[in-house]
Amino acid sequence: MPDVEPTAQRRVWHWTTLAVLAAVLAIPFFAGEYYVNFASQIFIACIFAASLNLLVGYGGLPSLGHASYLGLAAYVSAWLFLRLGLNHAYTAAIALAGTTAIAAIFGLIALRASGLGFLMLTLALSQVLWGTAYRWVSVTEGDNGLRGLTRPAPFQLDLDQPATFYYFTLAVTVLALWLIARFVRSPFGAALAGTRDQPRRMSALGHSVWMTRWITFIYAGFWGAVSGLLFVYYHKYIHPASLSLTTSAEGLIAVIAGGSGTLAGPLIGATIVMILKNYVSSYIERWNMLLGFVFVIIVIFMPDGLVPGVKRFWQRWQRRKP
């Protein structure tokens, strides 16, 4: 059965992307400050989910410890600024480099297993960071968190203005998504998808499955760290909850609900999770329970997520008899 003509599908996606981009660029012009800020938070969640998707969707490596990189970068940047008074150019660089290095180390440990073993190891490692953030009060202030942070001023921009922060975050998000898209479509990305589908065959073809996975793990950690920096700039505050299983789970459900293994999936999933978290939970007040139900419903009824579901619907629509 012939597939839908690919160029028609691609054209639709191109126009959709442009439309979304145009709408997104226009938001600060007609939306109030609250919504502009909320949209900035959504962008940050999109980077977090997209980076996790490299592991889950393209690598076939389900991780429940991705909050590690968001939280670690946030804490390092905050600590360097508050305790050592370093300027943000340095705190950002050190936070990114340090977190990426930790991602490399965590990857060495977690990749001793695959599948469920990998999942448990990423979870355990992330929990160690979380527990440490609570207990190492002299460094992290424990349950109080670190406050009193400022936003950087790259190129003299005043990021305390919501609209300016918005466009800055948008620019970083577009850059991140573009680089991630290039990564996924590159020869390396093709090899990565191959290791997800048939690791033994890939080995037999000469690919080093472990190295491919490790490099991806590090790259995913890097972008997780980027989302962490934007996160701490936005909130000007960091708390151990950002390293929690809940944070990792939010990222994971965003990826799965949107559709892992697609580029748009995590973005849609992250948007939905953020909307649920901020709007619905203010009425119900039980975000954890809602998150739990979302997990259960998605896993049972929509395991592929939204984007593949929509794609399938579109293809069936295209193929309908005239």
Partner: protein
């Protein structure tokens, strides 16, 4: 010297509690290949149920039994009607247990509120006992004894009964076990209930030491995880040894380097993964 004795006994008590939690987790993972992330929440649910039971019947052991039975029942429903529907989808099952854990956590918050609820120590065990010249809470000694008794009982179950033989066969080679006619579905439900019962009962038994509070699940789950990573999945001996190793490291770590107790837990886990990725007593699956 006193310090060392007290901390050693504390380590043993914590290890005992962890064993009640980790044994179930390890068996469920080993037999059913389900990383049951609900396990910490089941422990907490048990603790809260115990609290409620104690309001009517002030007997801790009775409360522990009721909690164990209730949590086991919940576990049975969860396994039979929900997890089984996702058979073959290992990741889906894990995510489902995670979702259920979140639901239970908020449920407990709704029902029992946000303040920690202390669990009273049984009257008979309130006096301190002198151990090697040092007074030590009798209750904690009782916890150690309970863990040993449960450990021996589980060991006898696994090694001396037909049921145990079937479980071990399933852990070693599921396909072969099925082929030989072992009623795998019933076994799954049984093991899941057993694990849940241990967690729920363990929550009550741990009550006098830890209280029932929101976040108990999040505090216990990572410890159970590290125990199982260390000891090896599906191994009772591994869960036993691992629980006490972690009990010691965590207790002494918290006493000597309180800020870094969690990081110290990290180290044995890394060593084991580097040199014996299957855990100290884990076995490669067929």
């Amino acid at each position: 010297m006193n310090f060392w004795i007290i901390q050693t006994l504390n380590s043993l008590a914590l290890g005992g509690l962890l064993f009640l939690l980790a044994a179930g987790f390890s068996l469920i993972f080993g037999l059913m290949r389900i990383a049951n992330l609900t396990h910490g929440a089941l422990f907490m649910l048990g603790a809260y149920i115990g609290v409620s039971v104690l309001r009517y019947v002030p007997n801790l052991w009775f409360a522990a039994l009721v909690a164990a039975a209730t949590v086991a029942l919940f576990g049975m429903l969860l396994e039979r009607y929900v997890l089984r529907a996702l058979a073959g989808n290992a990741l889906g099952q894990v995510l489902l247990t995670l979702g259920v854990a979140f639901i239970i956590a908020d449920f407990c918050l709704i029902v029992w509120g946000g303040d920690p609820i202390p669990v009273p120590t049984p009257e008979s065990l309130r006096r301190p006992v002198i151990v090697a010249g040092v007074p030590f809470p009798a209750y904690r000694l009782a916890v150690i004894a309970i863990a040993f008794v449960v450990g021996i009982a589980l060991y006898l179950l696994m090694e001396r009964t037909r049921l145990g033989a079937m479980i071990r066969a399933g852990v070693d080679d599921m396909a072969m076990a099925r082929a030989v006619g072992i009623p795998v579905s019933r076994l799954f439900t049984l093991v899941f209930c057993l694990g849940a019962a241990l967690a729920g009962g363990g929550g009550v038994i741990g009550g006098p030491i830890m209280s029932a509070y929101p976040g108990l699940d999040a505090d216990m789950l990572p410890l159970a995880l590290i125990v199982v990573i260390l000891g090896g999945v599906g191994s009772l001996v591994g869960a036993f040894v691992g629980s006490f190793i972690i009990g010691f490291i965590y207790t002494f770590g918290s006493a000597l380097l309180p800020d870094l107790a969690y990081v110290i837990l990290f180290l044995p886990m890394i060593l084991v993964i580097a040199f014996r990725p299957r855990g100290l007593f884990g076995r490669a699956h067929a």
